[in-house]
Amino acid sequence: MPPRGPFRFWILALSASLGAALLWVISIGEVRIPPGDVIDVIFGNISRIDPRSVIVLSIRLPRALAASAVGAVLAGSGVVFQGVLLNPLAEPYTLGVATGAAFGASLAITLHLPFISPFAFGGGVGALGLVWILGHGGRESSSSTRLILAGVIVGSVLGAGITLIKALAGDQVGVIVLWLLGSFSLASWGDVGWSMASALLVLLLGLFWARDMDVISSGANPRSLGVDDRKAVGLLLFGCSLATAIAVSISGIIGFVGLVVPHLVRLVSGPSHGRLVPLSVLGGALLLLLSDTAARSFGELPVGVITALIGGPIFCFLLWRGR
């Protein structure tokens, strides 16, 4: 396809910004660590028992990497969902993954279970399965409208369930609300591994099926152009929902990234998914990394509040521009 806009420029610019932002974000905080020292810590030139090493390697680096990877998952999945569901308002949570995860997490918190993430993941996957079965309704294939509708129904029922749990949770309600708003303050290296793997899954799915998504989103009958749409849509939605369920179980529910980043990136990339997917993955990583840093700087605000505060006005602007 002919390049529209300087794709390479944006890839390089976003990658460089992400790298610089990572260094900067890790260096700031209650204890300032100069970027040079951060690099030395990462390359092992500073002793592992030096306080700077402990702060960087145990706290700030995993947190920054997890936030970036989750941002990449949400934005990349947003592109995929909007592309194959032919709906500009689709986002990674459209098929009920977020409410399912929230339900699982709320349950785990009220029952004082020691592990929240596995419950959140189980809830997300369970809700996805339910939406999938409802959306297909015994047929071989499903229309995007049916899937979206099934997502709305499952989401509403689970939402009511969450409200019920909150009402019965007593003093745990504060913990539930904080979890629902999302945070990276406790990110571990395990979280980094899982979220990075999810981000990689989304990127690979998106790149492998980029042309198929172009054809599907163009409005053509995909089959007449050789696209096995049933297989492509099924794999893409399922893979990205799974990645989102993992992301949500790590960070809680973080809104607007999956909705706003793809729309912003389209302004410079056009609708072609070969460019849209990688740029959105980078853009989402950068946005969530900076949002999390802002959340951290303002005394551990929930990061979901920051993304909503940034994303809301951007979305209004895009809407006003008529995109």
Binding site: S218, A220, R223, L225, G226
Partner: protein, 255 residues
């Protein structure tokens, strides 16, 4: 050589049997006009014969192979379809859209080559849109969008071309140009089926005229044998057919 062969094709949508066992052969080097009243099953036949629509019974052979044994990509390398509705949703450029016609032949990751770009450009020039490459498909008029869809199908460079009312939004000059184009594709040995409502275009350009009514196909032995009675029986209204001084025939609905 028979490129497309349809045997006993049945399609049931809901409780309605739309196609009731269609037999049809399309050899290379022919333009077949498919006519019939609204709801007679023309679009359903085009979709089922092209492998994109549902089939409740019967078989479709494409260049000698049962279509069910071919992958979607293989089918799209043998038959291209121009849909009745272009339905362009996303602001792809005209060039990007036409290049999608090259996807079935290209590998999943293979960069589209200069040959692909040239084929797309040639297809655009064939439908008189040579200067439209950078325009957005969402900004086009209905007729321009329809010509982009035709160009996308041409870029597939398939031996079989199925067109579903491809000139419904075109002005008379461009409609004539499209049928002249179909004539030159026929001369290259391709097989073309075109569903349409304009009987005069069919009389003038088609090698064969087949009628579809209530899911059953009727084909007079020769287009010359299409007369007022045949048209009246198919469309349930009165017709007058006149032979013009040029030798062409023209049909006029009277009621």
């Amino acid at each position: 050589m028979v490129l497309l062969s349809v045997r006993g094709l049945k399609v049931t949508l809901g409780s309605k049997e739309v196609l009731k066992g269609i037999d049809m052969d399309l050899p290379g080097g022919e333009v077949v006009a498919l006519l019939g009243p609204n709801g007679s099953g023309k679009s359903t036949l085009i979709a089922a014969a092209g492998g994109v629509g549902r089939r409740s019974g019967g078989s479709v052979d494409l260049l000698g192979d049962d279509i069910d044994t071919l992958s979607r990509r293989q089918v799209a390398r043998r038959v291209a379809i121009v849909p009745q509705q272009t339905g362009f949703l996303m602001p792809f450029t005209v060039m990007e859209t036409v290049l999608m016609g090259r996807f079935p032949a290209a590998g999943r990751f293979a960069r589209l080559s200069n040959d692909d770009e040239q084929a797309a450009m040639a297809a655009l020039e064939m439908v008189d849109l040579g200067s439209f490459g950078e325009r957005l498909v969402t900004d086009l008029s209905g007729g321009e969008a329809q010509r982009v869809a035709i160009a996308r199908a041409l870029a597939q460079e398939t031996p079989v071309l199925l067109l579903d009312e491809p000139v419904s939004a075109l002005d008379p000059r461009h409609a004539m140009a499209v049928f002249r184009l179909l004539g030159s594709l026929k001369n290259e040995g391709k097989g073309v089926i075109v569903a349409l409502h304009d009987i005069n275009l069919a009389l003038r350009f088609a090698d064969r005229i087949v009628f579809l009514k209530e899911g059953v196909l009727y084909e007079p032995p020769s287009p010359r044998l299409v007369d007022e009675k045949v048209l009246a029986r198919i469309f349930d209204n009165q017709w007058r057919l006149e032979t013009l001084s040029s030798g062409d025939r023209a049909a006029f609905p009277l009621a």
